[in-house]
């Protein structure tokens, strides 16, 4: 009796196992991992990626599960985290900071049957794609607003590290500002940190005390918009532009607009392609046209004509009719980088290591 029962159970188990094995792979949800450089919080770079992750998870409900690790230092630790996600069952991993590039590449080489996507880098492989957004398109329009709104003709820019992406933002902002206000200048403070609210705030206050009445930043916290909101009481023409997220909650009067990021559609599309087996290398660089960046809501303080101009130019950028780096683009030292009638190429954008005319600070020569 007993032995027969065992046989039946074993047989049942075998059948169940074979059914499971034969089922199409889509039945078991695919695990997708995300590596974040800072805490998710409720504004900023990582926050926008996390919104994208949730949108993708919702769009592909049942097909995927997601997992994320936040606050991962760039460097050796990142490699350990990426490896951990893979050995923990993830098939696809998105690493969302520039400093993860080499660790991601290393792990991608070690696991050729898994898929890796790195944000803001330049190294690709048979199973490693890259993606980024054309933040500079939004920066240009922020600059246009700043150029129209400034009274001191000085804008302040709190920047993290002098990599091409940050340079693009500073230069696009300057180009936009000068397109409507040739007297305008942009002053830059590098804090050499992506995330140090105390230092970011100090840099913003420094720029304000030096006469800047338009301030923006390429760092991760909300400290700058918040500082502008506080100082707005003393100087009614002091305004800020947010970055990554809409930060109007932190600067209801002071935030004029901002450049916001939107990753959800890209994540959904990419994961779908990997699941369907149709993915063939990715080097995505999307802007207004693809909906990967948007402008934060425009402040009521912006006059109607400026608003109309910004809306018109946003459409022109999306349609490819207006390029923030349309020639002539002149570097700070007077050298012409792009001739009149031409647009800057993506390769030139990706290698940007100079200030354009209108930036008052100097970049040290290498």
């Amino acid at each position: 009796m007993n032995s027969r029962k065992t046989v039946v159970t074993t047989l049942g188990g075998l059948i169940a196992a074979s059914v499971l094995a034969a089922a199409p792979p889509a039945a078991a949800p695919t695990q997708v991992g995300f590596v974040y450089v800072s805490p998710v919080g409720d504004a900023g770079w990582t926050y926008q990626h996390d919104i994208g992750r949730k949108e993708m998870e919702k769009a592909l409900a049942g097909q995927v599960t997601t997992k994320f690790v936040e606050n991962v230092p760039e460097g050796a630790d990142a490699e350990r985290v990426v490896r951990g996600l893979i050995t923990g069952g993830a098939k696809i991993v998105f690493t969302t900071s520039f400093g993860y590039m080499n660790p991601t590449e290393k792990v991608a080489k070690a696991f050729p049957d898994k898929f890796f996507f790195h944000a803001t880098g330049y190294k690709t492989g048979p199973n490693m794609g890259i993606y980024n957004a054309r933040f500079y398109e939004g920066r240009y329009l922020n600059g246009v607003i700043a150029g129209k709104m400034t009274k001191s003709n000085i804008a302040g820019y709190v920047a993290a590290f002098p990599i091409p992406e940050v340079m693009q933002g500073i230069n696009a902002f300057t180009q936009g500002m000068r397109s409507v206000n040739p007297k305008a200048e942009v002053r830059v403070i590098w804090v050499n940190s992506w995330f140090d609210p105390g230092k970011e705030r100090e840099a913003a206050l420094t720029l304000i005390s030096q006469g800047a009445d338009m301030i923006t930043h390429h760092t991760d916290s909300t400290a700058i918009v918040q500082a502008a909101e506080e100082k707005h009481k003393e100087n009614k023409n002091l305004y800020a532009f947010s970055y990554h997220s809409d930060m109007s909650k932190y600067g209801p009067t002071a935030q004029l607009s901002g450049t916001t990021h939107h990753w959800g559609a890209f994540y959904t599309k990419t994961v779908k392609e990997v699941l369907a087996g149709t993915w063939k290398g990715t080097n995505v660089w999307g802007g207004f046209k693809e909906g990967m960046i948007k402008l934060a809501p425009l402040n009521k303080a912006i006059p109607a004509d400026v608003k109309a101009l910004v809306e018109k130019e946003e459409k022109a950028i999306a349609a490819g009719k207006l390029h923030p780096f349309a020639g002539p683009v002149v570097a700070q030292d007077g050298k012409e980088k792009v001739a009149k009638g031409k647009n800057m190429t993506d390769a030139e954008l990706g290698a940007m290591d100079y200030y354009v005319q209108g930036v008052a600070s100097t970049l040290p020569k290498k």
Partner: protein, 310 residues
Amino acid sequence: MQPSLLSSILFATIVAGTPLIITAVGELVTEKSGVLNLGAEGIMSMGAVAAFAVTVHTGNPILGILAGMVAGMGMGLIFAVAALTFMANQVASGLALSIFGVGLSAFIGKPYESQTLPSVAAWNVPGLHKIPLLGHAFFEHQGLVYFSWALLGAVAWFLYRSRLGLVLRAVGEAPVAAHSVGYNVVRIRYVAVIFGGAMAGIGGAFLSVFYTPLWVEGMVAGRGWIALALVVFATWRPARVMVGAYLFGGCMITQMFVQGSGIQLNIPSQFLSALPYAATIIVLVIISHNKNTIRLNSPASLGQPFSPEA
């Protein structure tokens, strides 16, 4: 009237140096009793989150500071129990406390993530704040800045002019001798550690309620470690802690002013960012070039456990 450039720089320097002074002076007292507590970063984080949470709910920054202080004392107590009662390795316990504090503060702070507070008004010292140039720089600050000065004075007086201070230093220099003449070494060290924790808690509270009135995970951003380094570089002298903290803050602020001014300067910004650290080290190395003064000032039993039974 727009304050002058120099007074703006001085003003910002003092603000940037304040959390460092408060935390470092607390650590100095702890170390003078012979205990090395490397947990400052974690204690500051806990102080910052506790102060922020209480200020959000009560709207009262003073209650916030008290909460930061109490949180810091709690962290100090945890360390004291591990290091003094159970005689765990002080370096390892301190590092663990740092990691624990940073992590726990992030956990506690989740509901407060990225919330902000209205900034706390400055208190102008009557009369003094009208002095041209220096008035704005020194006498138009938030209350905790004046507290940091009072604290420095009080601790310097306590350590070198009071009987209890003498006992504390004796405990740090020669615990066995202090024990043999009837002082309760462990109890004195407990008090010193908890005092150090309280000050680091206030240092953290300054960051989240006064300096940058918001809470985000990781906002202490290494200031606890800088405070620890300041104690060593100040060769355990309160006045030099102040010199070091302002030197550090001053270099940070000055390089920002230089960057923002548009002055043509061919120095990499990374170098400028490293300058506060480099300058602090260089100046304090010069101050303490005489090895004997360091040896005289460094508490002889620093980091060594003491058991009354042994």
